[in-house]
Each structure stands twice: as structure tokens, then as C-alpha cells.
């Protein structure tokens, strides 16, 4: 297997790089629209971003929330919804992995690959459509939050900033999911990865409980978990902050989300495209 000498020609060799990028973007958009059309025709695919957050919010607010007392006496649902933003946005990753493994196992991928389109378009189309579903996820989460008494206490400007940071993080996580999708063989494996890898990572964060009570090593992990940064940033912007651990990402959560997202995209987007090209030539 000669993976070292992959052809450098993208979908449209011989064109000016800018024109090529333009077409790559257009192709990605066509493929993103395809995924969105699929979702409209099969809305059950949306359970991840609609029903699931509602269930989590209700469970945590009324079951666990009844027993959790926050230091300083803040309200738990105000604390929880921001945590749910962190978890739900990161939860895009397993969804992307499932979507891509489904695409790759169908014959359709051969059609895309035999067309003169950019190699990144299949992946970018998927991450773009997953971003669109996350917009819906945010709306559902906010509506559920409002129903249980959560409020955007610092005004619409800060709230929009929180939504924007959350979506940026979601987009970054879709690229991590795209990598997983290229490494895993079946949608079932991707689904399992969601439970085995993603769920524990989501719980070892400040999403549901403050980290101060955790053992030292777990606390360190939780404080540096990017989901914690998203949750902390949302708490700062929506209101509902609790005592902040003296750790850099918790002290500067908005900046931490920006850096985490940029870093994740910088690592996972090129890796996903590389894995895609390697995978499809075998």
C-alpha cells in the first residue's frame, strides 16, 4: 500500500487556487443541502439534538437537581443549561461519525469519488449540515431551559455571543467526529464510540456538577476539558457562574473556547481529509 505518494491533484487540478476553493465550497454546500434534505425526509435522525437534550434537562433538573446544592446558593437549572450547551455541542462528534460511516458504507460514496469534486467536499458537506442541526439543537435547549426557569440574565448580546461560541465549538467537534468516522468501519461502531468515549468525557467536566469536589487528578482533567470551557463561558454570558477554579481556561473561558475550537479544527480537519483520501484509495 503506497500511502506516502498520494496524488496531490485535488478535484480540479489546473485551476487558480482561489477558484478551486470556491468550487470546493460550492460542492460542499450542495452535499450539505443533500444531508439536510435527508434529515427533513427522515426527522428521526434529529433525536440526538432534540429529544435527548430535553430528557437530560428534565432528568437533571428534577431528579439530580433536587439533591444538588451549589456552593453560594445559585440555582441548579441556571447552572445546568450552560453545562448542557457544552455537552450537546460536543455531542455533534459522534453524530458526524455515525453519518459519515453510513455514507461511506453505501455505494453513493463511489459516485462522489468518481465525480470531479474536491476531496474535502464530502467531509465538509457533512460537517456543515451537522452544524445546521446544532442550530436547531441550541433552539431546543434554550426553549427547554426557559421552560424550567433558566434565564439569559445578561441580555441578548451576551446570549448571542454564547450561542456563537457554542456553534464554533460544535463545528470544531464535527471535524473530530469526521476523523472518527474515517477510522471506524460501521455506523454501529460509531454509535458505540459515542457511548464508550464521548459520554464519560462529557461527565468528567463541569457540565453537571462543579469540579471542586472531584479528586485532584480528575479535577485537573475536568477543568481542562473543552466542554468545561464552553459551559463556563456560557455561565459567564448567560449568568449563573459559580466559584471559578484558579485554572487558566476557567478564568478565561471565552478565549479558551476560541483556542480549543481553532486547535481542534487545525488538527482534525486536515487529518480527516488525509484519512478520507487514504481510505478511499484502498
Amino acid at each position: 500500500m503506497t500511502t506516502a505518494s498520494l496524488p496531490v491533484t485535488a478535484g480540479t487540478a489546473g485551476e487558480a487556487p482561489l477558484l478551486r476553493a470556491w468550487w470546493a465550497l460550492k460542492n460542499s454546500w450542495v452535499l450539505a443541502r443533500r444531508s439536510i434534505t435527508r434529515i427533513v425526509r427522515e426527522p428521526e435522525q434529529l433525536i440526538d439534538v432534540t429529544v435527548q437534550p430535553v430528557i437530560f434537562v428534565l432528568l437533571f433538573t428534577y431528579v439530580f437537581g433536587s439533591a444538588i446544592r451549589l456552593a453560594g446558593g445559585g440555582s441548579y437549572h441556571q447552572f445546568l443549561i450552560s453545562g448542557m450547551f457544552g455537552m450537546t455541542m460536543a455531542g455533534t462528534a459522534p453524530g458526524t461519525a455515525v453519518g459519515l460511516t453510513t455514507d461511506m458504507s453505501a455505494g453513493l460514496i463511489d459516485r462522489f469519488r468518481s465525480l470531479p469534486i474536491s476531496r474535502a467536499a464530502v467531509l465538509a458537506g457533512r460537517t456543515m449540515s451537522d452544524l445546521a442541526t446544532q442550530v436547531l439543537g441550541i433552539a431546543v435547549l434554550a426553549a427547554t431551559g426557559l421552560a424550567v426557569g433558566w434565564r439569559m440574565q445578561h441580555g441578548i448580546g451576551d446570549a448571542l455571543l454564547a450561542f456563537g461560541l457554542s456553534l464554533l465549538f460544535a463545528f470544531a467537534m464535527t471535524w473530530a467526529g469526521a476523523c472518527a468516522g474515517m477510522l471506524l468501519r460501521s455506523p454501529e461502531a460509531a454509535q458505540a464510540m459515542g457511548f464508550v468515549v464521548f459520554l464519560p468525557l462529557a461527565f468528567v467536566s463541569n457540565a453537571f456538577v462543579p469540579t471542586q469536589g472531584m479528586p485532584g487528578w480528575l479535577q485537573a482533567f475536568a477543568n481542562w476539558n473543552p466542554m468545561s470551557a464552553v459551559a463556563a463561558a456560557c455561565r459567564k454570558l448567560f449568568g449563573g457562574e459559580v466559584a471559578t477554579p484558579p485554572v487558566w481556561p476557567m478564568q478565561h473561558p471565552e478565549l479558551a473556547v476560541l483556542l480549543w475550537s481553532a486547535g481542534l479544527i487545525a488538527v482534525f480537519a486536515p487529518t480527516a481529509v488525509y484519512l478520507y483520501r487514504r481510505k478511499v484509495l484502498r
Partner: protein, 324 residues
């Protein structure tokens, strides 16, 4: 710029572990012709199509399609080709029309042009009535037709069809054959793979017989048949007692000794230019008082070709699965 060969493969090798799916395969397809790749399961047909359509890198060897190297100029190759694989390459949850429009837009047609082209193809493949239904409601034949339509959206000059009619009913097969013939008339180069000997015979100007990752024979249908031997006259007598007389008559006209099968009451002998000598054979049989049930000229089928060339029957093939 018109290349003499639309497709040229040179010593292609592709191994999967110890199995060699391709083992030094050479192939040339003239621009504007139809070449049928004929072989059993596991012969390397699909692997060849995947290499030529840039979906797979060969371990060794090289190939040029539309004058471009499939490895170093894959993008240019993709702009010249259409591919209909063995398994339907459609989005099941979209409508037939949406599938074609999507492919059109990916091929850089403006939205309006993509819609026009989709409508055109839906009409041509008799799918206009089902155009706005989800593909998952389509029958196997409809899917294949839509799949073929999808590979034609960008008007490719070279078309790859991997077992285009496998699993199709007779009607869908006829529609597909007509479409392929029409494309060839319009100047499209077609490479099709098939396990159906009659399909290669019907459609392809030239046939490449493939076995174990190599082309073991190549030529027109007639040339291949000539390798196996020429025409044979075969007759069936009514009463078994006429067998001897019939054999005597045939041996006077035949190029070789007649074969007698008493059980079937048949006599068969090689006769070159069979049709021209038929009247004389009939007159002599009549003069000898032979009562006939049946009389005819039999041309060797491609089944015979395959048996002669490979020593094993085409349909049974080897136990190896076609490597994907």
C-alpha cells in the same frame, strides 16, 4: 485532441493479501467503441473498473483514460468519465430527481441547467412518472436506470458500466441495452463488464475475456468463436434407423468426421460456409430417404469460448469473491 485509445491499461497489478485481483492486466479500448469485459466472479473485472475510474490505486502498472494518467491526473480523468458500479450509488432517501440535480450541481451545472438535465434524463429512462418519489420506493430495475442516468448527467465521453444488468428483469435489461447502444452511436466509449455471455455478444464490438486478473483472449465475437472452431451442422433424425444414412450424407459435406449421438438421435459435423452448403446437404438427405426432426447450423457460443480458453465454465467461476 482525439486519442486513438480512450482507455489503455498496462500491466495492472492489485493484490489483497495473497490474492491477486489483478495480475498484469493489459487492455486497450478504441475511442468510440464498446468493449465487453467478460469473466466469472473474482476474475478482476470490478477491480479493473475501479482502477480505471480512479477509485483504486494499482500496486503496479499504469493506465491512461481519455489520455490522462489515472494516478497522476485523476482529476482530469474524473471529468471525462461516468461510472455505474455494481451496487446502486444513489441517495435512497432523496427523490430520483433530487439525486440527478445533485449530481448535476456537483458537476458544476448551474441550478437551472441541472434541473433541465435531470428532467431530460428522467424522460429518457422512463422515470418521469416516479421522478418525485423517494428512491427507496423504486424497484431494482428503476434504480439501475436512475443510476445509469446519474452517470450520464455530465455527458461523459467514456462510460464504465460494471455488470449493468445483473439481477435485472428482461425488460429493464432491454432498456439498458438500448441506452448503451444509443450512447455508442453518439460516440461515447463504453467499457462494460458482464458475466452474461449473450450480453457481451449483443453489445460489444470487442470482447476481452478475463480470468484470474489477466486478459486471456481479446477480439471480436467472431474472432473468439473462430478460436473454438467454425460452424457446425447438426441434425436430428426421426427414426433411429436413419442415423447411419444421415452420417454418411454429412461426412460427404463435412470438414471433419461427424459425431453421432444415438441417444439424442443427433449427428453433428463441422462445416465451413454452412449456409451455402445447406441446400446440397438437404437434397442429399432427401435422396437418401432420411426423415428429419430437426436440422440447423450451430455457431459456438461464448460459453464454448470460455470453456476452451480457461478449461472451466464461465458461470461457476472460482470461489474467490470479486475483491471490492
Amino acid at each position: 485532441m482525439r486519442e486513438p485509445y480512450a482507455i489503455e491499461a498496462d500491466g495492472l497489478v492489485k493484490a489483497y493479501g495473497p490474492t491477486r485481483a489483478l495480475d498484469g492486466l493489459d487492455l486497450q479500448v478504441e475511442t468510440g467503441s464498446i468493449l465487453g469485459m467478460l469473466g466469472p466472479n473474482g476474475a478482476g473485472k470490478t477491480t479493473t473498473v475501479r482502477v480505471l475510474s480512479t477509485l483504486l490505486r494499482p500496486d503496479r502498472g499504469s493506465a491512461r483514460v481519455a489520455g490522462y494518467d489515472v494516478i497522476t491526473a485523476a482529476a482530469q480523468v474524473r471529468r471525462a468519465i461516468g461510472l455505474t458500479g455494481q451496487y446502486s450509488a444513489l441517495d435512497e432517501s432523496l427523490t430520483g430527481r433530487a439525486n440527478l440535480v445533485m449530481v448535476g450541481q456537483l458537476c458544476r451545472l448551474p441550478r437551472k441547467r441541472a434541473r433541465q438535465r435531470a428532467a431530460e434524463l428522467l424522460d429518457r429512462f422512463d422515470l418521469a412518472g416516479a421522478a418525485d418519489r423517494g428512491v427507496k420506493t423504486y424497484s431494482g430495475g428503476m434504480r439501475r436506470r436512475l443510476d445509469l442516468a446519474a452517470s450520464l448527467v455530465a455527458r461523459p465521453s467514456i462510460l464504465f458500466l460494471d455488470e449493468p444488468t445483473t439481477g435485472l428483469d428482461l425488460r429493464s435489461r432491454m432498456v439498458t441495452w438500448d441506452a448503451v447502444r444509443a450512447l455508442a452511436v453518439a460516440g461515447t466509449t463504453v467499457l462494460l463488464t458482464t458475466q452474461h455471455l449473450d450480453e457481451a455478444d449483443q453489445l460489444a464490438g470487442r470482447i476481452a475475456v478475463v480470468d484470474r486478473g489477466r486478459v486471456i483472449a481479446e477480439g471480436t465475437s467472431a474472432q473468439l468463436k473462430a478460436k473454438v472452431g467454425g460452424e457446425r451442422v447438426q441434425l436430428t433424425v426421426a427414426p433411429p434407423s436413419d442415423l447411419a444414412a444421415a452420417r454418411d450424407v454429412l461426412s460427404r459435406h463435412a470438414d471433419g468426421p461427424p459425431n453421432v449421438d444415438p441417444g439424442q438421435r443427433t449427428v453433428e459435423a463441422p462445416v465451413t460456409g454452412g449456409a451455402r452448403r445447406m441446400p446440397a446437404i438437404v437434397r442429399d438427405l432427401d435422396a437418401a430417404g432420411v426423415l428429419l426432426d430437426d436440422l440447423g447450423i450451430r455457431r459456438p457460443s461464448l460459453d464454448d469460448v470460455f470453456l476452451t480458453l480457461t478449461g472451466h465454465a464461465a458461470e461457476s467461476g472460482t470461489s474467490r469473491e470479486e475483491a471490492a
